[in-house]
Amino acid sequence: MSNLNLALSLTLNHPSVQSVIEIAKEVINNNNVLDTELLYNLAKRRLKFPRKGLLSIIQLLINKKVLVEGSKYTRDEVLNNRYRFNLYNFLTSYLGVHFSSIRKQIITDKSGTLGSSGQLIWHLEMLIRFNYIKKIKIKNYTVFLPYEIDDEIGLLHFVLRDEIYLKIIQLLISNVKLKKSEIHKLVNEKRETIYYRINNLIEFNIIELSGDDNSLVLNSSKKNDIILIITTFSQNNSQITKLNFNNK
């Protein structure tokens, strides 16, 4: 290109423009931060275009939005995305929610603008990647917690969000000691359901067997936390409300 009277003939398909795009791609693929100066210097060295012509090409690429302003995400920038910001707020407000529950809220959102499961998982992964949240596995459920929340506290929140678990625990708070059969009678659910949950609670170390009569009691070291969480739930009327992802 001897004389770059480019401005008159520049289109994106122009070979000179394509050569500059290739250089930009190379910089980005090598994980370097691309900026006008770097692109200009590299292209100038390799393509030997005159200054004005090269600047016209870069200008065209920005004008046609082939090059857009932006850089690799920093931790602060990750929450600039409204979807992620609202998702993070939701996970902070409703500790112990599991993936299925979050997803359910999104699928049933009437606005229809919240995208696919894939998109939700992408945003969860981004929040994990930048240490905003972490995931813990509880039985078959994946629970997402704010990064700074203790796993044990997360587990308690998860358990207490379940109506049957909650009933069992409330019974043990008011009665101190109960047998499995007594709990089953009082909760009025299928035997297998109750026994399955009781076994889980033992496994989670939330309740324990007491004495020879196989009575169940609350783990005393967790009792205060449990009462506090239940009180907070009742104060906040903490039913999971619909996610409002469309509001700022």
Partner: protein
């Protein structure tokens, strides 16, 4: 008759010649010539060249009358310079400088007719014709006002020069600095030693040379201050965008912009005839709309002016001619209209682009041009059936740490079981 050739005369003639060249340059180089502010600046340069030429002649011929005439020419020079710079900044003639120059000029002209306004003296070994007394002081003050305004213009131009022409703007500012500040410093020293008038004129000469050179290299320097042109958009009569071009980021949102164009298109028969122009005052600028047979063109700018309106009208006309065939076919493919770029160059070439805000501003390639590793791309396409969503995730991947995409795929697989459960449940419900 013996001519009084002195170094001051020679330098004065050189300065005058450079001044004339600069006047012609500022007329020839820019493609758009009718800008009020620039007409005044051009006039100021021309008048200054005449002033310095006659000043040189007065010494050459040792003629007091010519010296007084040259003094009088200082009045239109300062006045046109002050008006030009004020007009560039605020599209208005009036400023404190304007009132000051008018007041001083009346007194200056009166004093010029008084005896002994100019005397013939031997200074520094050469015959000179210095302005005397109050006439000399006011002449010096007028020159100083001119210097201050030129310097102010230089600073504003440098400050507002976009990245693309910053290099030339520095050169332009250097010229202005030498021609105003350096020259004025020598002019003040002239009060103590007449030799410094030559140094002052030499500084003017060098400054003007640099200014001329920078304007020849980049005529857009003269258009930095009068307007900021933000954006132009061409739509067909059905409202489909055919072409758009940005000069700089505008505060006016896309919705307002397209909304106005659509509204005007709907009401066009009532508010403007085909071929008509309309200015809409928006909060952050002016939208100039032009309607023609097949297209509507909207230009957003900081100020409206006759020049911009005629540029829009001419651009519209040429767009219609250039793309007549595909416009008649109703072609809506924006790629087909990309070559309208040359019409931008033709009609808006003087307006500098501010689209590159800073040379170190990080940039990314649009996700449409970026290529992911094949297996990752395949996985993503399986997960994201919607193209918009796929492109969004792709653009995010390029902004995240390297292993994020792999982490995502693994998390997706892990959650898929839970996911399928809910989706089945949802379908059943």
């Amino acid at each position: 008759m013996t001519l009084n050739w002195t170094p001051e005369v020679v330098v004065a003639f050189f300065v005058a010649i450079i001044g004339f060249v600069l006047t012609i340059t500022t007329y020839i180089k820019p493609k758009t010539k009718k800008i009020t502010s620039l007409n005044y600046i051009r006039l100021a340069i021309l008048v200054f060249s005449i002033f310095i030429f006659i000043d040189g002649l007065s010494i050459l011929y040792i003629n007091e009358f010519l010296s007084i005439i040259s003094g009088f020419i200082l009045v239109p020079f300062t006045l046109s310079l002050v008006i030009g710079v004020t007009y560039i900044i605020k599209e208005n003639f009036y400023s404190l400088g304007f009132v000051l120059v008018i007041g001083l000029s009346v007194l200056f002209i009166y004093l010029g007719f008084q005896p002994n306004a100019v005397t013939i003296k031997v200074q520094g070994g050469y015959i000179r014709l210095p302005w005397m007394g109050l006439f000399g002081n006011i002449g010096m003050t007028l020159s100083a006002i001119g210097g201050v305004f030129i310097f102010y213009w230089g600073i504003k131009t440098l400050k507002n020069a976009p990245f693309l022409i910053k290099k030339e703007a520095y050169m332009f500012f250097l010229g202005i600095f030498v021609a105003s500040v350096v020259s004025m410093v020598f002019y003040v020293l002239y009060l103590f030693d007449p030799f410094y008038i030559v140094a002052s004129n030499l500084a003017l000469l060098v400054g003007l040379l640099i200014i001329t050179l920078s304007v020849m290299i980049e005529p857009k320097l003269l258009y930095i201050l009068p307007f900021t042109v933000y954006r132009i958009m061409v739509k067909d009569r059905e409202g489909y965008p055919l072409f758009d071009h940005d000069w700089s980021k505008s505060e006016i949102s896309e919705n307002i912009f397209t909304g106005f164009i659509n509204a005007v298109q709907l009401m066009s028969e009532e508010i403007m005839n085909i071929g008509g122009l309309l200015d809409i005052q928006l909060k952050d600028g002016i939208l100039i709309l032009h309607e023609s047979k097949n297209i509507t063109v909207g230009l957003i700018t900081s100020k409206s002016s006759k020049l911009l309106r005629s540029s829009v009208a001419n651009f519209t006309r040429d767009f219609e001619i250039k793309f007549e065939k595909i416009l008649m076919e109703g072609n809506k493919d924006m790629k087909k209209y990309e070559s309208a770029q040359e019409l931008i160059e033709k009609h808006f070439s003087n307006f500098p682009s501010r689209i590159i805000t800073h040379k170190r501003k990080p940039l990314l390639l649009t996700e449409l041009l970026l290529k992911l590793p094949l297996s990752l791309d395949r996985d993503l396409k399986t997960i994201f059936k919607d193209e918009k969503e796929y492109n969004f995730i792709k653009s995010e991947i390029f902004r995240t740490p390297e292993s994020t995409a792999a982490g995502f795929i693994s998390l997706y697989k892990e959650l898929k079981k839970e996911l399928d459960g809910i989706e089945n449940e949802h379908q059943e419900s």
